[in-house]
Homo-oligomer: 194 residues x 2
Amino acid sequence: MKIQPLLDYMSKYISLTDHEVTLLKSKLVYRKYLKGQFILQQGDVCKYACFVVSGCTKTFHVDEQGLEHIIMFSIEDWWTSDMGSFITQTPADFNVQCLENTELIMFSYDTIEELYRQIPKLERFFRQIIERAFVASQKRIIRSFSLSAKERFLYFRNQYPKIEQRIPQYMIASYLGITKEFLSKIKSQLIIEQ
Amino acid sequence: MKIQPLLDYMSKYISLTDHEVTLLKSKLVYRKYLKGQFILQQGDVCKYACFVVSGCTKTFHVDEQGLEHIIMFSIEDWWTSDMGSFITQTPADFNVQCLENTELIMFSYDTIEELYRQIPKLERFFRQIIERAFVASQKRIIRSFSLSAKERFLYFRNQYPKIEQRIPQYMIASYLGITKEFLSKIKSQLIIEQ
DNA sequence: CAGTAATGTTAAACTAGTTTAACATGATTT
DNA sequence: AAATCATGTTAAACTAGTTTAACATTACTG
């Protein structure tokens, strides 16, 4: 289990004793997925909150018309899960699929409450992680209201330069809430403008 | 201080001893605002996370073109704050304004860390509150992608029947991300369809 | 390495939602 | 009671983004 990336990440929020690290390790699941595999399928109950050690995933929702809407991408040092399904143990709104071979450290719903009891500091850690995720989600709502598709694309390109080259363009369009044709148009406009 | 509504609300998540309630009480701020008053202004640092005891607030963002976008309404038993500004103590993206005379119980940034230390259970309480807020925010993103303006309006009307009658229509339009003119059109279409 | 599937581009016709402006209504102030 | 202001409606012209379809390109797969 490559646990070091997670420990480095956690050390930014809390400090764990050796004994706590051992305890934590014993409750975690380490798993490798291949490109294309689903970590979670819409309608299933989400059993794991996952930390991405390596690789890339997309989280997406399929609406009633069968259209795919990408909510987020997750790469190294990010989290991926359907938080709503995880915390309430009800059917997921999202699919999570690997866009590359991906290694995950998974916190299972069945053991996380026990972990909180044994290591109360984790309660603090997860509160802070979720605060950040919530803030990012709210900022995204602001952008969807107040920016045009072109401005949203420029923001995306700036914020995730690494992801832009790793994934197909139609997925970026889906993340931006536009069609791949319109993204194509925006990009050719941007080239002309220069 | 009308603290009972907050205690009732908290009892759904954690149970506090009498001593803890006394401690908590001593750290809270209770305040009344008049209709129209601002609890927070965009650009200021948010010092308080507020529980609404009575009244109604709107949380909105003013974009670079000066257009107002309503992010949420908060009524009795809801929270209101700019979480991003509160946790990072950086300038707020949002304004929070009272739509009615409003009574709040306010958790100050300066005392909340101390409270977490003295009553570790609060860490758990806020983790759960923020989890829920995050999930609500993500569901709103799904709706903005996968529903038409008409469907979003029907969803709003269904989810917040009490709020619909308490506030002006142009604020509902702003919440839905459309113009008041288009909301007017949607409503007249809905009447014709019946 | 040929054939098929997945991805990306261009362009024309279309539609959801905006903008502007004129007018109606009710509430608040003088 | 008149005047002003905030809110709400209607309608016409407009625009951002979609849909459809044809074609180009890249990348798997047998």
